[in-house]
């Protein structure tokens, strides 16, 4: 009997990947909702993992014509213990007559549940988001180069030897060097022919000796000389990179309660994750302020618990200074996101507005302000509203009142605008 045993284990296991993607695509609306829910429910340190998604089973069902409940249904069952013919059994509560509808999904759950892996989860989370107004600025001395061919050189590694160019050069050299000799040879040959066949005179011997020497010289011209070798030249070309920096400005003053700080952090965690995932080379500058602003590292930004009064302008001042020092606008896309409860030192708000309008907004591509407050229109909000009209493209502000708002507001701020 002919048979064949094949080991398929090494072959791809992702045969269903396409179908899986199709499924995710078809139910994207449901999945997006579930992802939003999940993001809102999670603790702020726990954003990067997959999620169990449930979709109402009704929505994923594949309907067919099938028999419903009712009518006269007969069934045969195994495991009779005490029944005899003619026994009457009360219907189990709630069930009515079952039968025909034998569940084709195993268990009659109301939800279709499946696992979204981390990759897919983040994809859904940040789908259709982008940094607005991103443009390519000057070629920065970054690490992104690509090698391009750029002519030929005389030296190089054997792997880059260009055979055609080398042989072509060699041939030209051989022709050039041999021209005079060939001419001589030709002349000598004619001279030699002028003598008769049996002429063995002194002259004839001299000519034939000369001819022999000339031919030897010709042979001494090398076929390929070091001098001929040509190598492909590769030059490094800097590729234009879009370099961007995000300023995260967070208020940590005393008026920010722990809850509000958590919300602010949550917002920045999302922002940070988004940048890390989609704009790998983006730099992030963390600024926290109370009456005084400091540039801090990621760790301190999210975990330190220093507090004090509120002077917002200090943060904007610091931001301006950092931009001037480190991020020239001709080579950087500059973004800023500010989160605050909206309270500010009374006289400071006009100063903030002026700072923003005069020094900061002209430099940035986008400035997002998130006010976390359940009462509406705090000090800062009112001041910022005046700016909104002047910079409609670059400036956006949103209010957040609870954890459930964070993700929608985040999405809203960074939604891809159709062009």
């Amino acid at each position: 009997m002919a048979f064949l045993i094949i080991d398929r284990r090494q072959q791809g296991k992702q045969k269903s990947a396409v179908n899986r993607q199709r499924f995710l695509k078809r139910f994207r609306k449901h999945i997006k909702e579930a992802v939003t829910d999940a993001v809102n429910k999670r603790s702020i340190t726990d954003m990067e993992r997959g999620e169990e998604i449930s979709i109402p089973r009704k929505d994923v069902s594949e309907p067919i014509f099938r028999q419903g409940k009712g009518g006269k249904q007969r069934r045969v069952l195994p495991g009779n213990k005490e029944f005899i013919r003619g026994d009457r059994i009360d219907r189990p509560k709630g069930g009515g007559g079952s039968g025909g509808k034998a569940s084709n999904q195993g268990e009659g759950m109301d939800e279709f549940v499946f696992e979204l892996n981390q990759q897919e989860f983040l994809d859904f989370m940040f789908e259709d988001l982008e940094l607005p107004n991103l443009v390519r600025k000057q070629l920065k001395d970054s690490d992104s180069y690509k090698l391009v061919k750029g002519g030929y050189t005389r030296d190089g590694i054997p792997a880059r030897l260009n055979v055609v160019q080398s042989l072509r050069g060699a041939k030209a050299r051989r022709i050039a060097l041999s021209g005079a000799i060939r001419r001589d040879i030709k002349a000598l040959e004619q001279e030699l022919n002028a003598f008769g066949d049996d002429d063995e005179s002194e002259e004839q011997r001299e000519v034939s000796e000369k001819l022999g020497r000339a031919r030897r010289r010709l042979n001494h011209i090398p076929f390929l000389d070091d001098f001929d070798l040509r190598y492909n030249n590769m030059i490094q070309q800097p590729t234009p990179t879009t370099s961007a920096v995000m300023f995260c400005v967070m208020d940590v003053s005393g008026s920010m309660t722990q809850d509000i700080k958590d919300l602010a952090k949550r917002f920045f965690v999302l922002l940070h994750l988004f940048l890390k995932r989609h704009y790998e080379k983006t730099e992030v500058v963390f600024i926290r302020h109370h009456t005084k602003a400091d540039e801090v590292d990621e760790e301190e930004f999210f975990y330190s618990r220093e507090t004090g009064g509120t002077v917002v302008s200090t943060a904007l001042d610091l931001m301006k200074t950092i931009i001037d020092e480190r991020y020239p606008t001709d080579s950087w896309n500059i973004y800023a996101a500010q989160a605050s409860d909206g309270e500010n030192w009374q006289d400071d708000s006009p100063k903030c507005r002026d700072l923003l309008v005069k020094s900061v907004l002209p430099l940035v591509q986008y400035f997002a302000y998130v006010e976390i407050s359940s009462q509406k229109e705090q000090e800062l909000w009112q001041t910022y509203t005046e700016i909104l009209d002047t910079f409609p493209d670059r400036f956006a502000m949103r209010n957040v009142s609870g954890p459930a708002d964070i993700f929608p507001v985040f999405r809203d701020l960074f939604e891809r605008k159709s062009k």
Binding site: I6, N19, G68, G70, V76, K81, G97
Partner: protein
């Protein structure tokens, strides 16, 4: 017979051991039991690949569709959570017969699975009349490949969404894509490709003819027009493929593909008990033979018995694990019992089975395998002993009655009734609603009318039916009606037009429907 050394004492399988088992099993299967099989192609796969194989519902290569993704996610989720183990094997009705074996199986299990799939299922595919008449094992892989390429091509040309919704609609009617009483023509991928263009042209032309509206003498009374179709049609997909007024040629082709695949699966839907029973019966016998010859050691045979016992475990109806009758249990019990009736018939057996009590058992099981499907197999061979062993009883659940009634149990008065009702339980045409195409309004609004003939007053599942109505509408593209008929009287009407689906009850005053 002198005992030979076991093929392997280890529980880890190796390719050499698998080959040795295949060879030995093949020898016994052919010489001792006359099992006729297609050549085997055994493929070792990992758990992930097994989940892939699951989701393409038994086709070696499937076209792409979200529903297969759903299937995959379900399996994956349940497997990860430990709700289900994966099957040890999966076998495809093709020539050569492809069997997938999981790498996780230990050697004994692999031997069992080879006996079960590569000789049990394989010989069933080759021998059973339904498979012989309905499927062509050597052509199926090519055909499915053709279908997949064609559908991919359509997606490129007409957009993924258009193809996907069309497939949704076809899938909804897939079970109604079979001529139950006519044999299908054999399929061939080459033929399909060659004829496809001709067919597209020709079909479109025919359809156009059908709908051509030549101005005729006015005022002809409608009754004089012959009804169309002249007889009710049970194959909805076929009728739609040939007659739906507005389908594009490529859409007709896809309807056809789904229909062909439905035909391929039709025998499997009707032979669950027999197919599993046959395979289990043979793995049990073959493994025992290997043990008797000494090719399987004592330790390994215990492993085999444990797996076998798990496979044929039947929870009782009131157990929380009960989910219907286990086809492995019933099928194995029946084939084993046929052998017993042949070899050691009791008086009762002689009364019930005068034809094969005392006959040659091997001949009898081969005959049963070749010439029956689940329904007729049970009707013919279910013995009182099996009914007693499984303690089968039948109940009647009538919504007009307050209580469920026990109508028969495993006693002399009940054997025949239990047997008949169990057979009905495997009769597709009694378990699935009877829906046929009743009439197409050729002259009027081009609407199509389906008729559901209720059996024992069992209605359609209304929610699902409404959804399917939309799918029919998507294919037919004019109004769709469905009459649910009970005792010649329609008591529920489903309607679907461009915008919505609704039902009309006619319970109080049953109107006569014209027939």
């Amino acid at each position: 017979m002198s005992k030979r050394a076991p093929i392997s004492e280890s529980s880890e399988w190796t390719f050499e051991a698998l080959e040795a088992f295949e060879e030995e099993i093949a020898r016994i299967a052919a010489d001792k039991y006359r099992l006729d099989t297609y050549p085997n192609q055994i493929e070792i796969i990992s758990a992930d690949q097994m989940m892939d194989a699951y989701s393409s519902v038994g086709m070696p290569v499937g076209y792409h569709h979200w529903s297969f993704g759903k299937q995959f996610l379900t399996t994956e989720q349940r497997y990860r959570k430990g709700h289900i183990g994966l099957a040890y094997e999966l076998v495809i009705n093709s020539n050569p017969c492809i069997a997938y074996l999981m790498e996780e199986n230990n050697l004994t299990l692999q031997a069992l699975v080879i006996a079960h799939a590569c000789f049990g299922h394989n010989s069933f595919f080759k021998g059973n009349y339904l498979f012989r008449e309905w499927t062509d094992a050597s052509a199926i892989v090519n055909y499915i490949l053709f279908a997949r390429n064609y559908i991919t091509e359509c997606e490129e040309r007409h957009g993924m969404e258009a193809v996907e919704t069309l497939l949704d609609s076809c899938h909804a009617l897939m079970n109604l894509g079979v001529d139950r009483f006519r044999r299908p023509r054999p399929i061939s991928a080459d033929e399909e490709k060659r004829r496809q263009q001709d067919r597209e042209d020709y079909l479109q032309q025919q359809v156009n003819d059908l709908w051509r509206t030549i101005p005729k003498k006015k005022e002809e009374p409608e009754e004089q027009w012959p009804r169309y179709p002249a007889d009710p049609q049970e194959n909805l997909l076929y009728f739609i493929e040939k007659n739906a007024p507005l389908l594009e040629p490529w859409e007709r082709e896809i309807v056809r593909i789904v229909r062909k695949i439905a035909v391929y699966f039709y025998p499997q839907r009707q032979t669950k008990i027999m197919n599993e029973g046959w395979a289990t019966f043979w793995h049990y016998n073959l493994m025992n033979d290997l043990y008797e010859e000494g090719l399987i050691g004592e330790g390994n045979v215990l492993e085999f018995l444990q797996s076998h016992t798990n496979v044929i475990y039947q929870p009782e109806f009131d157990s929380p694990y009960y989910s219907g009758i286990n086809p492995y249990t019933l099928g194995f019990a029946m084939f084993t019992d046929i052998r017993r009736v042949c070899e050691n018939p009791t008086d009762e057996d002689k009364r019930f089975f005068p034809e094969h009590a005392g006959a040659d058992w091997l001949e009898t099981v081969h005959h049963a395998m070749a010439n029956y499907k689940d329904e007729s197999f049970i009707l013919q061979y279910l013995s009182p002993k099996v009914i007693r062993d499984l303690k089968l009883f039948s109940i009647l659940d009538d919504d007009a009655d307050r209580a469920i009634q026990v109508t028969a149990i495993h006693d002399d008065a009940g054997y025949r009734q239990v047997r008949e009702e169990l057979a009905d339980q495997y009769n597709i045409s009694k378990q699935e609603p009877d829906i046929q195409i009743w009439e197409v309004s050729l002259r009027g609004d081009r609407s199509i009318t389906l008729r559901h003939t209720q059996r024992d007053r069992i209605p359609l599942d209304e929610d699902d039916a409404k959804e399917v109505m939309k799918h029919v509408h998507r294919l037919w593209r004019f109004d769709v009606h469905l009459e649910s008929v009970q005792d010649e009287k329609a008591n529920l009407f489903y309607h679907c037009n461009n915008e919505k689906v609704w039902t009309e009850s006619n319970d109080s005053s049953k109107t006569e429907v014209k027939s």
